[in-house]
Amino acid sequence: MEYIYAALLLNSAGKEITEDAVKAILVAGGVEANEARVKALVAALEGVDIAEAIEKAAIAPVAAAAPAA
């Protein structure tokens, strides 16, 4: 999950999620950054609305639980 944490850290700080930025954070954290994973992650997150994804995560289970009531 380190890669994801790095991406969310950037997002939370209002920074762009770039390969270099993710790598820099991982390295600073003492993690050997796998080039391909960084590339793949950045590519996969392109076009993902992170704020919305997080919001959904916070709400989704609740919404799902509703019919259970």
Partner: protein, 299 residues
């Protein structure tokens, strides 16, 4: 055997009776022996009225019924039919019907009704007397109650029972005195009706234990069979119309689980992975204390 000895001088009415019974036995495909010993006359009449259209009920002496059954078995070359006599009991009667044995049993079972227990009988269940007024004025009944151990007293001018009490346990003998008291209290702990001794159909004799169907048990078995089939279909990946969707969902859930667990982001799982990381962050933030948190997280 008395009949054997008296074969040559058998009373004509008996011959007639046996012939009538034989005709009845040959009239239907399903022949039942039932026990109506304990059925009071009033109830018996009610039951006869209820079943009249669906079956013929005939009472006779056991010896004559036995003879009729054996003769029919012999005349029709059906030794299995003769075995019905093994199920004969005192108070037996014959039912002839076209109703299948299971339906017959159900019909007879449903025609049973509650009745008072007789003195000297075995209690079929725990018999309980409930607290409350008996509605009876003070009199000898009070001491009758007390005599069988029921705590009673006069209350507001009537005989009242002070507390709930089990007066006889299942399997114990009901005393004559208790039977009278229970009857007076209108407690009917037994069900009376026609009990099936044996039913013959098509070469097979069914007894009560064969015929007593527990529908719940069947429902349970059906559910178990269905669940088994469903599980096998999904787990062995043999798609059927009932399970193909679940198989697809299982495969998708597998993929989603592996994607999330490995944090390999795909378009279908980005939300789940990011959401998981976010939820973890919130959980840890909850442990960190306000000083460690930024404004967004303070709450």
């Amino acid at each position: 055997m008395i009949e054997a000895k008296s074969e040559h001088k058998i009373a004509p009415w008996k011959i007639e009776e046996v012939n009538a019974l034989k005709e009845l036995l040959k009239s239907s495909n399903i022949i039942a022996l039932i026990d109506m010993m304990e059925v009071p006359a009033v109830q018996l009449q009610e039951i006869r009225d209820k079943i009249r259209d669906q079956m013929t009920l005939k009472m006779s002496r056991n010896t004559l019924m036995k003879r009729a059954i054996e003769e029919v078995a012999e005349e029709t070359g059906n030794p299995e039919f003769a075995k019905l006599v093994d199920y004969m009991d005192k108070g037996a009667a014959i039912i002839a019907t076209e109703m299948n044995p299971f339906k017959l049993y159900k019909t007879l079972d449903e025609s049973k009704s509650p009745a008072p227990v007789k003195g000297g009988a075995i209690a079929p269940c725990d018999i309980e007397v409930k607290a409350g007024s008996t509605g009876m004025p003070p009199g000898p009944f009070l001491s009758e109650l007390k005599a069988v151990g029921i705590p009673a007293a006069i209350d507001k001018g009537k005989i009242g029972i002070k507390e709930d009490k089990i007066v006889v346990k299942e399997g114990e003998v009901v005393s004559q005195k208790l039977a009278v008291v229970l009857s007076a209290l209108d407690i009917k702990p037994v069900t009376v009706g026609l009990n099936v001794l044996g039913v013959y159909e098509d070469g097979v004799i069914y007894t009560e234990s064969d015929l007593k169907i527990d529908e719940e048990e069947f429902v349970g078995k059906i559910q178990k069979a269905y669940t088994s089939a469903f599980n096998l279909s999904v787990n062995a990946v043999i798609p059927t119309s009932a399970t193909v969707e679940t198989i697809v969902q299982k495969a998708f859930n597998d993929a989603k689980a592996v994607s999330v667990e490995s944090a390999f982001v795909t378009d279908k799982t980005a939300d789940a992975i990011l959401g998981k990381a976010y939820a973890q962050m919130i959980a840890v933030a909850g442990l960190a204390g306000d000083d460690a948190l930024d404004e967004d997280l303070k709450g």
